[in-house]
């Protein structure tokens, strides 16, 4: 079992978040990962493929983590929606939080026909749909509107946290989410 592919993935993920994607060269990645370019290009045909794989992995990790938390710690569907931002806070404030990939990637690759941008956009929409799913299960009338608002707050909070670490933006995002959820529930 190599684990080299995995090592390259996590190394690239960290560097992309801390240095930026375009600012991180392939040479830097392999140097930090303790391997060579030949190996990197064997597992990932190009830097673009590597970027896409990093995004996929990060998104999947987040979705799995969140889903497990919600499945294991809540019973009623309405409870999930209420506790959503509690877990998001836990995720964002955890020490190994390294940002949300698709938000940064879409900024670095603004062109709509770019594969990285397309995947980012797709992941953003996927997350919105996940909230939509939670909202409909909780019998929210305007599930579409609420899910869009909650994803707005999510992206804004992550953006703010990324802009200035430990800004406490998540706390206010949490109360804002609570207000919006309560408002949509009693309708």
């Amino acid at each position: 079992m190599t684990g080299l592919r995995e090592k390259i993935l996590t190394t690239a993920s960290n560097l992309f978040q801390t240095q930026g994607i375009n600012s991180t060269g392939v040479d830097t990645i392999v140097a930090v990962a303790g391997t060579t370019k030949m190996t990197l290009y064997k597992y990932f045909g190009s830097k673009e493929v590597l970027i896409l794989e990093v995004l996929k992995q990060g998104h999947q990790d987040f979705q799995n983590w969140l889903n497990d938390k919600l499945s294991n710690n809540t019973k009623q569907p309405s409870e999930k929606l209420q506790k959503l931002f509690d877990y998001i806070e836990e995720w964002v404030t955890s020490p190994d939080f390294h940002g949300v990939g698709f938000i940064k990637a879409s900024a670095e690759f603004p062109q709509e026909d770019n594969p990285v941008h397309q995947l980012s956009s797709q992941q953003s929409q996927q997350f919105k749909q996940y909230i939509h799913h939670l909202a409909t299960e909780a019998n929210i009338k305007d599930a579409e509107g609420l899910s869009l608002q909650l994803s707005l707050i999510f992206e804004g909070a992550v953006q703010a946290e990324q802009m200035k670490r430990g800004s406490g933006a998540i706390k206010y995002a949490k109360t804002a989410a609570k207000i919006l959820i309560d408002g949509a529930s009693t309708q």
Copy 2:
């Protein structure tokens, strides 16, 4: 009257938004602006200086535009806060909207000691303080909390709009803002 400096500024601003900052070379900027590198480096000592100037200009334009709108079209302080997101919507949906500079810049320059990141962070905070100012004038009790929440929604909406143009995120951001403002007013 030259206007060449201005021309370079607006050209760079457009290219930075549509292609990304790091992905836009100095050669491209001068080619599109119809000038040469010598002139660019005469007005702006380095690419970093140019980036900073573009950010300053864009932020100032936005703040001036928003402030004028609010000053001219509202009378009472509480009205300003209510109409804030109406004008933000007008700004975002306008055809020559080219994104909010400091949001993208902070993504492309994640390192906190980077001058571009620092300016972005500073501008983000400045905008939050502007909302805070509006909130205190409107006699909102928890002005700090509300202004943070509204700036979250703003950044999230811009992010969403940038991710997928014409997503209608602004409309939902508007209603979310209304709910939060009303909630903070009747406290």
